[in-house]
C-alpha cells in the first residue's frame, strides 16, 4: 500500500516536472499569461508531490514498514528513531529521494521570489529548474526506485551503514551538502535565463548573487562538516585527504567562490557578465560531476553506494547539461554586453581578476588530479590514484596566494591609485604580517610555507579588521555616535554587505592558517600497550588504565580507558572505542578527542583485546583544529549577514533597472527615496 502510494507520488512529480519544463520553455519563447501560470502551478505540484513522497518514506522508516524495499534495505528494529529518520539519506535510492525534496523546496521558494522580482526571466529559469527536477524524478521512477513493493517482507532489516550511525554529525553533514549541491541548480537556471533573454542587468546580478550565496553557505559548512565527521569517526586523525569524494564537494565550491567575487565586479561596473555566468554554469556542472563520481561506484568510499545502473544515467545527464551550457554560451554570450569598462587594473579591480584566475587554476588542478585516474582506468583498465603530494604541491601555493590577495585587495582603493596612495594602503599591514609570523616562529613553526601563510594571514587580518573598524571610527568621530549605535547603524544596517564580506574574509583567513598549522605542526605516535603501560605524545603522558566490553542493543563496544596528564597535572581520562555492529564483519573505531582552541589530543584505537588487556593506540596532537571548525562558523555567519537584503540596496537598485522589469516591483520603485 505504502509503496504503491509512494510510486504514485513520484509519478506525479515526474509528470509535473516534465510537463512544467516544456510549458515553461514554450512560455519563454512566446509569452502567455496562461503558460506562465501553468508552469508555476506545475512547479508547485512537483514540489508538493516530492515532499509528500519524502514524508511517506520517513513514516515508513520510523514505523519499520519492511514491505517498502528501501526500508527493508536500510531499516532495522534495533535502530534508534533518529537513526531511522537519517536512514532517508543513508543509501542510494533514499539519497536521490532526499535530493528531490531539497530541489522541490528550492524551486518553490525561487519560483515565488523570481515571480515577484524578475517575472520576465522566470519562464526560462523555471524550464531549466524543472528539467533538472524531471531528471531526478526519472531516476526515482526508473533506475533508483525507493518504493518497490516487497511481497514477503522480512521481519527485520540490516540497518544503515554503521559508519553513518556512529556519529551525530552524520545527521547534519548530508543535509547541508544537499542544500549546497542542489541549491546550485537555482543560480544555474537564472544564469541560463539571463543568457536566453540576453539580459543581465545590475538588479538581476544582485538576485543571482543572493541565490548563489545561499547554497555557497551550505556548501562551505558541508565541506567542513564532512571533514569534521571524518576526523571524529574515521580515526586516522586528519580531516582532509584529497579523496575523490572530498574533491567532488570542493570543486563546485571553488567555482562558486570565484563567481561570488566576479559578480561583485559585474554588479558594480557592469563588466565580466559572460565570465560570471560561465562560472555559475560550471559550478552546476561540477555538482553533477560530483554526483556522478559519488553515486556511480567508480570510487569506493563511505559515500558510494551499491554499484548500480544509475551511473551511466547521470553521465548522460551531465553530458546533456554540458552540451546545453556550451551551446548556450557560444550563441548567447555576445548578448551580455558590458555596461562599463574595467578601468585601471592596478587597483582593487585587478585583484578581483587575479583572485578569479587563481580560483580557476585551483579548480583546474584539483579536477585534473581527480579525474585523471578515472580516465586511465577507462582507457587501459589499470588502477592508480594521484597521491596527496600532487594536490598539496598545487594547493599550498595557490591557497597562500589567495590569502595574500585577501589582504591586498581590500587594502587597495577602487580604480586607479597613485604611488603615494599605494604606499599608504599597503605598507602598514606589514606590521600584522611580521607580528603573526614572529609569534609562529617563537612557537616553533619552521616550515617555510606555514611561516609564509602566517605572514599573509597577519597581513589579511590587519587589513580586514581595519576595514571593519574604519566606518565605525568615521561614524563615531563624524557623527559623535556611541560605539554600539555606530556598529548597528553603520555595519549592520547600512554597510551590511560590506561588513559581512569582511566577516567571511576573517573566518577564511583563520581557516587557511589553521589548515597550514594543523597539517605541518601535528605530532603523531603509535603504540602497542598492555594495561598499566604509559606512552608520551607531545607534552601529554598517556596511561592505558583498562579495557572494557560494553554490550548495547545494536552493537558491542570495546572501550579503552586512557588516563591523560600534562606536566604532572591530571587531565582526566579519554575513552576511545572499537565498536562491533551486529551484521557487520569489521569493527569500527570511535576516536576520543580532547578539543581546545590551541590543540586537540586525539586518541584512536587501532586494535584492542579486553580479555588480554592489550591496546594498539594511535595518539596525535593536532594544533588549531578547533579553530578550523569555529572559523567556518564565522564564515557561515558572515554569509548569512550578507544574505539579508539591505535597505540601501533596494533604494539604489530599483530605479536603476530598465522599465521592462519593473512590473513586479512598481510599488517599490514609486516609493520616495529616503
Amino acid at each position: 500500500m505504502t509503496s504503491g502510494l509512494g510510486r504514485a507520488l513520484i509519478l506525479v512529480a515526474l509528470l509535473a516536472a516534465s510537463a512544467g519544463s516544456v510549458v515553461a520553455f514554450a512560455t519563454g519563447r512566446r509569452y502567455s499569461i496562461e503558460g506562465a501560470r501553468w508552469s508555476r502551478w506545475l512547479a508547485y505540484a512537483f514540489g508538493i508531490a516530492i515532499t509528500l513522497a519524502n514524508v511517506l518514506m520517513v513514516y515508513a522508516l520510523v514505523t519499520h514498514d519492511f514491505s517498502v524495499s528501501y526500508v527493508a534495505q536500510v531499516g532495522s528494529l534495533a535502530s534508534p528513531t533518529w537513526v531511522s529518520v537519517v536512514s532517508l539519506w543513508s543509501s542510494l535510492e533514499g539519497s536521490i529521494l532526499f535530493w528531490g525534496l531539497i530541489l522541490g523546496a528550492y524551486i518553490m521558494v525561487a519560483t515565488r521570489m523570481t515571480q515577484q522580482r524578475h517575472p520576465e526571466l522566470l519562464p526560462d529559469a523555471l524550464g531549466v529548474w524543472l528539467a533538472s527536477a524531471a531528471f531526478f524524478a526519472f531516476l526515482l521512477a526508473g533506475p533508483a526506485q525507493p518504493f518497490l513493493t516487497i511481497p514477503n517482507p522480512p521481519s527485520d532489516g540490516p540497518g544503515p551503514n554503521p559508519l553513518l550511525q556512529n556519529h551525530v554529525l552524520m545527521m547534519i553533514h548530508p543535509p547541508f551538502l544537499y542544500l549546497g549541491y542542489v541549491g546550485m541548480t537555482i543560480p544555474f537556471g537564472l544564469a541560463c535565463a539571463a543568457l536566453m533573454r540576453g539580459r543581465l542587468g545590475q538588479d538581476f546580478v544582485g538576485a543571482l548573487r543572493t541565490w548563489l550565496l545561499l547554497p555557497w553557505i551550505f556548501l562551505t559548512c558541508a565541506i567542513v562538516l564532512g571533514g569534521w565527521w571524518a576526523y571524529e569517526v574515521l580515526g586516522w586523525g586528519g580531516y582532509w585527504a584529497w579523496d575523490p569524494v572530498e574533491n567532488a564537494s570542493f570543486l563546485p565550491w571553488l567555482t562558486a567562490t570565484a563567481a561570488l567575487h566576479s559578480a561583485i565586479l559585474t554588479e558594480r561596473k557592469g563588466i565580466l557578465k559572460g565570465w560570471t555566468t560561465t562560472l555559475i554554469l560550471a559550478t552546476f556542472l561540477l555538482t553533477i560531476l560530483g554526483t556522478f563520481m559519488t553515486r556511480s561506484g567508480v570510487f569506493n568510499s563511505v559515500h558510494s553506494f551499491t554499484q548500480s545502473a544509475i551511473g551511466p544515467t547521470i553521465l548522460v545527464f551531465l553530458a546533456a547539461a554540458l552540451v546545453f551550457s556550451v551551446v548556450l554560451l557560444a550563441f548567447r554570450v555576445d548578448t551580455l554586453s558590458a555596461d562599463g569598462t574595467l578601468g585601471d587594473p592596478v587597483g582593487r579591480e585587478g585583484v578581483f581578476l587575479l583572485n578569479n584566475l587563481l580560483f580557476v587554476l585551483f579548480t583546474f588542478t584539483v579536477l585534473v588530479g581527480t579525474v585523471f585516474p578515472l580516465l586511465v582506468e577507462a582507457w587501459s583498465g589499470r588502477q592508480m590514484s594521484v597521491g596527496r603530494p600532487y594536490f598539496d604541491a598545487m594547493a599550498v601555493p595557490i591557497g597562500a596566494a589567495l590569502l595574500f590577495l585577501m589582504g591586498v585587495g581590500p587594502a587597495l582603493p577602487w580604480g586607479a591609485a597613485n604611488g603615494e596612495q599605494l604606499k599608504r594602503a599597503l605598507l602598514p599591514p606589514l606590521a600584522g604580517a611580521a607580528v603573526l609570523a614572529a609569534i609562529g616562529y617563537a612557537l616553533g613553526v619552521r616550515s617555510p610555507w606555514t611561516l609564509v601563510t602566517l605572514a599573509f594571514g597577519g597581513y589579511a587580518a590587519q587589513v580586514t579588521l581595519g576595514e571593519m573598524w574604519l566606518p565605525l571610527r568615521q561614524r563615531m568621530r563624524g557623527k559623535g555616535e556611541a560605539f554600539g549605535q555606530a556598529f548597528v547603524e553603520g555595519q549592520l544596517r547600512r554597510g551590511r554587505r560590506r561588513f559581512a564580506a569582511y566577516v567571511v574574509h576573517a573566518g577564511a583567513a583563520v581557516v587557511i592558517i589553521a589548515i597550514a598549522v594543523s597539517s605541518t605542526m601535528g605530532i603523531s605516535r603509535e603504540a602497542q600497550m598492555r594495561v598499566g603501560d604509559t606512552t608520551r605524545v607531545g607534552d601529554y603522558t598517556l596511561t592505558f588504565v583498562r579495557a572494557d566490553d560494553v554490550m548495547e542493543p545494536h552493537r558491542r563496544s570495546m572501550v579503552a580507558t586512557v588516563g591523560v596528564s600534562r606536566d604532572g597535572k591530571d587531565l582526566g581520562t579519554l575513552r576511545p572505542a572499537m565498536n562491533q555492529y551486529a551484521r557487520e564483519r569489521e569493527p569500527i573505531g570511535t576516536p576520543a578527542v580532547r578539543t581546545s582552541l590551541k590543540e586537540d589530543l586525539y586518541l584512536s584505537v587501532m586494535n584492542i583485546d579486553p580479555e588480554g588487556g592489550t591496546l594498539g593506540l594511535l595518539a596525535m596532537v593536532n594544533p588549531m583544529v578547533g579553530c578550523l571548525w569555529l572559523a567556518t562558523g564565522v564564515m557561515a555567519l558572515g554569509g548569512l549577514m550578507a544574505l539579508v537584503p539591505s535597505r540601501r540596496r533596494a533604494d539604489v537598485i530599483v530605479p536603476a533597472a530598465p522599465p521592462a522589469v519593473r512590473s513586479g516591483r512598481s510599488d517599490l520603485a514609486a516609493e520616495p527615496t529616503r
Partner: protein, 157 residues
Amino acid sequence: MPAKSRRWFAFAAIAVAVGALVAITAGGIGQNLVYYWGPTEVHAAGDKAIGATIRLGGLVKKGTLVRHPDGSTLEFDVIDRPGAAVRVVTHSVPPQMFREGIGVVVEGTMTDAGHFESRRLMVSHSNEYRAPDDPTRADAKDLMKTTQGLKDGEAKK
C-alpha cells in the same frame, strides 16, 4: 599601450600561462602516481617497483606471519590468486581485524633487498552487506575497492 598590441599581449600571456600550467600539472601527476598492484604485477614491474608508491593488495598467506619482539614490526607474505607472493615488512600497528588469511592492502614500496616495505597496513573493508569474502577468489582489484579510510599519501607524513 594601443588596443591591438594589448590584445596580443593578453593572448601571449594566456598562452604562456596555460602552457606552464599544463606542464606543471602533468609533471606533478607523473611524480605522484600511486599504483594499485597485486603481487603478480609487482613481480612483472621488476625494478620499476623499487621506489614507486604502490598499494599492494592480496591475502596474508597462512603460516607466514612473524611478529618481531619489538612489538610493532610485522612480516608476512601477501599472495594473489595466481599464487605469486611478496614478502611484506611493516612497522605500523595492525588494525583490529588483522590476522592470517585475511585480505589486506599495504601501501609502500619495493626495496632493493627484495621485500615490500610498508608504511601503512589496512584490512580490506567492505561497506556493503554481504557474506564474508570467499578467500579462494581474492582479487587484488576487489580488495583495493573495499579498503576504507586508506587515505592517499597519509602514510608519508
